[in-house]
Symmetry: C2
Subunit: 279 residues, 2 copies
């Protein structure tokens, strides 16, 4: 990580009439293109009324007075009046919505509804229930606790202990609404030399995770230092044996070592051609 103490500081506000998650992700991606500036981020969500807009402007102007530099202000409002108000502040306003809305209205030959929160419309209740069901399923079928009944699973992640199965499963359930089971490959399976029957029956839904043995060693050391479980040799052997399974059963797989949870999940969805209910 660069030593952020030595970088120039630039305050950034992310202001949205909703959660600010979209504007936050978007501005994060954009600002990461300027690695030599340290951005001090403040998110102000749910700014959906005049008094809240005014309060935001006070914060922006206060920041300008304190830091003697105009803060960047990313806005995501459906009501353009709010954007125009923010533009009068001491910040530099970057409207993340309007440029695209105009161009879309043109290309689609349709007026936009300009309504707050359309992104969570009438299907929200159904979506919510579905995602909660997916999360419950994924917790219930975490770590091979329950097996044998993988009928409802959209996907089953396999891999050695600490290869990243649990966070990836939960992300896929939360974000994509996928029923994601996971099963830990362990010495038991490697000694038998075959996958458990329940997995073989669901072979088309298996996806393997692999990981650099040295990284695995580091992760396991944190959990159980100087144990057989965390020994580098043990990690090397397990990873190798898991990879042999993937090869023999032709199981698609990915290396979690240098990938974020988002990247892994997105890549699995894409490669397995999974239908997703969300995003």
């Amino acid at each position: 990580m660069p030593n952020t103490n030595q970088l120039p500081i630039r305050p950034v506000f992310i202001i949205s009439d909703r959660t600010g998650v979209t504007a936050g992700t978007m501005s994060h991606t954009l600002l990461s293109q300027f690695p030599n500036i340290y951005f001090e981020r403040h998110t102000i969500p749910f700014v959906d009324a005049d008094d809240k807009v005014k309060a935001s402007i006070r914060q922006i102007n206060h920041s300008y007075k304190t830091h003697k530099i105009r803060p960047l202000v990313f806005t995501s409002f459906m009501d353009t009046n709010f954007t125009h108000e923010i533009e009068k502040s001491d910040g530099i306003t970057i409207d993340l919505m309007e440029p695209f809305i105009h161009s879309l209205e043109h290309h689609l030959n349709a007026d936009s509804s300009h309504k707050v929160g359309q992104a969570h419309g009438m299907s929200e209740e159904h979506d919510y229930m579905h995602r909660i069901d997916a999360i419950n399923f994924s917790m219930k079928y975490d770590d091979g606790v329950r097996m044998g009944d993988y009928d409802k699973a959209d996907i089953i992640l396999i891999g050695v202990s600490r290869a990243g199965k649990t966070p990836t499963s939960l992300y896929m359930a939360l974000h994509y609404g996928l029923y994601t089971a996971n099963y830990p490959l362990a010495d038991d399976d490697f000694e038998k030399g075959v996958l458990p029957d329940a997995l073989i029956d669901s072979r088309k839904r298996l996806f393997g995770l692999t990981i650099d043995p040295m990284q695995l060693h580091k992760i396991r050391q944190k959990r159980r230092a100087n144990s057989e479980y965390s020994a580098l040799q043990q990690c090397q052997r397990e990873v190798l044996q898991a990879q042999q399974f993937y090869k023999r059963y032709r199981i698609p797989h990915a290396d979690s070592t240098a990938m974020s949870i988002e990247e892994l999940a997105s890549s699995i969805v894409h490669r397995m051609n999974l239908e997703v209910s969300y995003l």
Copy 2:
């Protein structure tokens, strides 16, 4: 949900050199402003080489031939050459990055690095480990299974069974890297009339969830139909008693009934002034 069968269909491609998650969220927000069109979305992630760009263009052109309408193509590339290639396809290209990068270069008086994947830089490993620790913590402290040692918890969600504690906890761990415990308020607690000591000791980190009793009744019916647990009267009583706790102990709280998981989580982070490691 509108009957999507009757809406005109417009194919949409989301093409990114990374996961496509940012571009997906952004385009979802934008397109939701046009509720009278049914957008058929295709995400193509990890388009980071010439041959992958060419393959994407083939898909776009094929869609145009099939549907006789130019698909919308949202792009998020750091290499602008890729964007220019896509612009030559039969789709309508909407570049989500370039307009902002230019304006930011101007305002920041700095060149952007234009590098793929800056958003996941050198702090990724630390970030990843932290989020995994947060997820492990949140699973371990789910549903009041472990109590008494809430020292490491950033936040403790409380509420009646099925009020939305588990998905919100996991989202906060996954997305914000927050150590989120949760504890189910139940008849036991209501009969005693006081919160468990472990919770009282961590009072400043408590956040309550409440829910419309009718909605709760519906959710519980799905889980255990026609039981005492799911009876409307039982739901009404529990919700009321939980709210009395929130009032007596001055616990900030939110109603999960009409909020998405993202909204709840974002709102809790904001109201509790939590420092987040991610986004």
